[in-house]
Amino acid sequence: MRNVFGKTALSLAIGLTAMVGGAFAAEPIKLGSIYSLTGSYAVIEDPALKGAKLAVKEINAGGGIKGRTIQLIQYDGKSTLADIANAAQRLVHEDQVIAIVGVADSGFYLASAPIAQDAGIPYLDTGGTVPNLPEQVGEFAHMMPFGDDYQAYVAAEFAQKDLGAKSAFILRDGDTDYTRAIAGFFKEKFTKLGGKIVDESSYHTGDTDYSAHVTKIRSLNPQPDVIYAAMNPGDDATFVRQAREGGITLPIIGGDAFDNPDLVKNAGAKNTKDVYFTTHMAMTQDGGAVTKFINAYKAEYGVPPENAFAGLGYDSVYLMAEAMKRAKDLTSKDINDAIFTITDFNGVTGKANFSNPKRAPDKEVTLIAVKDGKFELVGNRKP
C-alpha cells in the first residue's frame, strides 16, 4: 500500500517537474543543412558547412533566436544525387526541420528543393548559381549568391572597359553546368559589347594538365587580349601557374573559384600578375565584417576560409536567422514570408536585397585584382 502510494506520488512529482521544467527549457530550433563532405563537391561544400556551423555557434552564443538555440541537423550529400534527395526527405519528414540551408550546386538544389517545396519548408540555396534557380522550384525556394549571369556580365564589362580588351579566349570546365554557364554568359556579354571571342577550349573535371590548352592559346595569331577562365575551385591556381610558366602573359579573368587563399600560394606569387576574378566576398583584410569573419573562422578551425563558399554558408545561416527573428511565429510559412522583408542584408558576401518576388537576390559582385601576391579590391559592381 505504502509502496504503491509512494511510487505514484513520486511519479506524479517527477511528471509535474518535467512539465514545468519543460516549459522553461526551450526547445531548439531545428535548422536542416545538406552539404557534401565527401565526393567531388566536398572542396566547396565542406567550407560552406564550416561557415554555417560558425554562424550557428555565434548566434547561439548571443542568446539564440527568441530565446531558443538553433540546432543544425546536417547530412552529407556525398556529391550524389540520390543521397541528397534522401537527405532532403529525412530533414523534412524524419527530423521535421522548419527551414533548410544547403548545397552549392544548382543540380543538387534542383534534386532536393521540390521535396522542401512540397512540404512548405523554406530552403535556401547556398552556392548554386543558375540565375533563375528559385523560379524553377517554387515560392519556398531561395538563393543566397548572385546568379552566373551577374558574375560573368561584370567580368565581361571589366574586360572591355577596364582592361580595354577587344578579343578574348575562353577556357572552361566542360563537365559542370556552373562553368559552362559563366563561360556562356561572358561570351554573350562580351560580344554584345563589341568584343570578339577568338577561340574556346574545354577540359574535363579532374584534369590537371592544361598544357594542350596553354599551347593552343599561345599558337593563336593574333593573340587574344584576355583569357576568361571558367573553372571550378582548385583548378584555378594550377592553370594560372601552367599558363604563366608556359609563356602566357595575357591577363586572366576568373570566376569565384579563384577566390581562395591558395591561389597565390599554389600558383606562385610572380605568376599571379595580371590575374583578376569576380567573387561573392572580398577576402581582403580591411573590411570590418569580413575581417571579423576571417578571424573567427581561423580561431575556430585553425585555417582561414578556404574559399568564398565559407562566407556563403555563413551568410546562409545568418539570413535564415534574420528571417526567423522577423517571423511572427516560428513556423515555416512565417519564416518564408519573412525572407521577402529583408531588403538590407549585410553579409560577409556583400549587401543583398531579398525582396525580389523571383527570390533571386539583388547583390553586388566583388571584383578582385591580384597585386604583388595579395588580393586587392577593384570594386563592387552590378552589371
Partner: protein
C-alpha cells in the same frame, strides 16, 4: 510439394499487402527509400542476368539506365518547359508528351537498341576485356550527355521531370523483371545461356548460337536497365549525368557480387543490403552525442563501412550471400527438419 508451387503467389500477395501498408503508414522519406530499393533490385537482377547467368561481365549497365532514363524523361517532359530547356529535338517531339508507361517502355527499347549496336561487335570479347569495353560505353554515354546540352540540359541535369513514379509502378516493374528473368533462366534459353557462360566451345558444338544467345541476354538486360532508369528519373524528378558515372558502376557491381552472381535471390539481397544498410549509418556521420558518448563527425563513414563489408565479403564469402542458390521453400523446410545432418552429403559451404 504444393507449398513450393504456391510460393510465388504467396510472396506476391505479401508484397502487395506490404506495399499498401507502406503507402498508408510510412512518411515520404521511407517511401523514397523503398522506391530506390525497388529500382536497385531491378538494376541488379537485370545486370545479373547478363553477368551472372550469361558470363558477360558488363560495366556498362549505368549507360543503359541513363539512355532509358533520359529517353523516358524527354518523352514525358511537360510541353511548357521543353522548348526552353531541351530545344534540340524536332518540333513534333517538343510539342507532345507521352504518358508514363509507354515512355518507360520506349526508354527500355532505346536502351535495347544501344545494347544491340554495342553488343554485336563487343560481346565477343572475353572477361576483363569486355568489362573494360563496357566501361568505355559508360564513359562515352556520360560524356555525350554532358556535352549534348540542347538534348539533355547537360551537366545541370534535367530537372522538372513529372513525379509519375510511385511504389506500385516501381515494384510492379520489379516483379516483372524478376519474373521474366526467372522464366528465361529456367527455360531452354537459360540453359543455353549458362552453357555459353561455362564453356562456349562445347555450347557451340552442341548447336547453340553463341553470339545470338549472348546478344539476346545482353539486350534484355539492357531493356530492364532502361526502364529502371526511367523509373528513377520520375522518382527523383531529376536526371543528371553524374548519376551514371564510375560510382554507379561500382555500386551496381557491388550489389550483384555481394548478393551472389548467378542467383536472382542473391541480387535481391545484395540490393537490399546496399540500399538499406547505409541509411542506418548515415545519422552517425554527423557526430554528436549518442547514448551518452560524444562522437566526432565521421565524414565518409558509410563509404568506409561499405568498402570494408565488400572486402570482407570477398575474403570470407566470395560467392556472395546467396551464392548461386535460389530461395527455395522446400530447402528451408527441409533444413529446419534436419538440424544436425548435412543436407544430402554435400559440404555446407563451397569455398571455390
Amino acid at each position: 510439394m504444393s507449398a513450393q508451387k504456391y510460393f510465388p503467389l504467396l510472396a506476391l500477395m505479401v508484397l502487395i499487402a506490404g506495399l499498401w501498408l507502406a503507402q498508408h503508414s510510412l512518411n515520404a522519406f521511407y517511401l523514397q527509400i523503398l522506391g530506390l530499393l525497388g529500382i536497385n533490385i531491378m538494376l541488379t537482377v537485370s545486370l545479373n542476368f547478363a553477368a551472372g547467368y550469361g558470363g558477360m561481365f558488363s560495366l556498362g549497365h549505368p549507360a543503359f539506365a541513363a539512355l532509358g532514363g533520359y529517353a523516358a524523361a524527354v518523352l514525358t517532359y511537360p510541353v511548357t518547359l521543353k522548348p526552353s530547356r531541351i530545344p534540340g529535338y524536332p518540333d513534333w517531339l517538343l510539342h507532345h508528351t507521352v504518358p508514363f508507361v509507354p515512355a518507360l517502355l520506349i526508354g527500355g527499347v532505346v536502351a535495347s537498341i544501344a545494347a544491340v549496336l554495342v553488343g554485336w561487335p563487343v560481346l565477343r570479347l572475353r572477361g576483363h576485356y569486355l568489362a573494360v569495353a563496357t566501361l568505355g560505353l559508360t564513359v562515352i554515354v556520360q560524356v555525350s550527355i554532358v556535352n549534348l546540352v540542347d538534348y539533355t540540359r547537360g551537366a545541370l541535369g534535367l530537372s522538372g521531370i513529372p513525379n509519375h513514379s510511385n511504389l506500385w509502378w516501381i515494384f510492379g516493374f520489379m516483379v516483372l523483371t524478376i519474373y521474366v528473368v526467372y522464366r528465361l533462366v529456367n527455360s531452354r534459353f537459360g540453359r543455353a545461356l549458362r552453357a555459353v557462360r561455362d564453356d562456349y566451345v562445347a555450347a557451340q558444338m552442341s548447336g547453340v548460337n553463341v553470339a545470338r544467345t549472348r546478344l539476346i541476354a545482353f539486350t534484355i538486360s539492357a531493356f530492364f536497365a532502361g526502364i529502371a532508369g526511367g523509373l528513377l528519373g520520375h522518382l527523383l524528378r531529376i536526371l543528371t549525368p553524374g548519376q551514371f558515372s564510375f560510382n554507379a558502376v561500382f555500386i551496381g557491381v557491388a550489389m550483384m557480387i555481394l548478393g551472389g552472381m548467378g542467383s536472382i535471390t542473391g541480387s535481391v539481397i545484395g540490393a537490399i543490403v546496399m540500399t538499406i544498410l547505409p541509411q542506418f549509418i548515415i545519422p552517425f556521420e554527423r557526430g554528436g552525442s549518442f547514448f551518452g558518448y560524444e562522437l566526432p563527425a565521421l565524414n565518409g563513414l558509410t563509404q568506409i563501412v561499405i568498402a570494408l563489408i565488400l572486402i570482407l565479403a570477398m575474403l570470407v564469402r566470395p560467392e556472395g550471400i546467396a551464392g548461386s542458390k535460389e530461395f527455395s521453400f522446400r530447402e528451408m523446410i527441409a533444413r529446419s527438419r534436419r538440424p544436425m545432418e548435412q543436407t544430402s552429403g554435400r559440404p555446407a559451404v563451397k569455398w571455390k
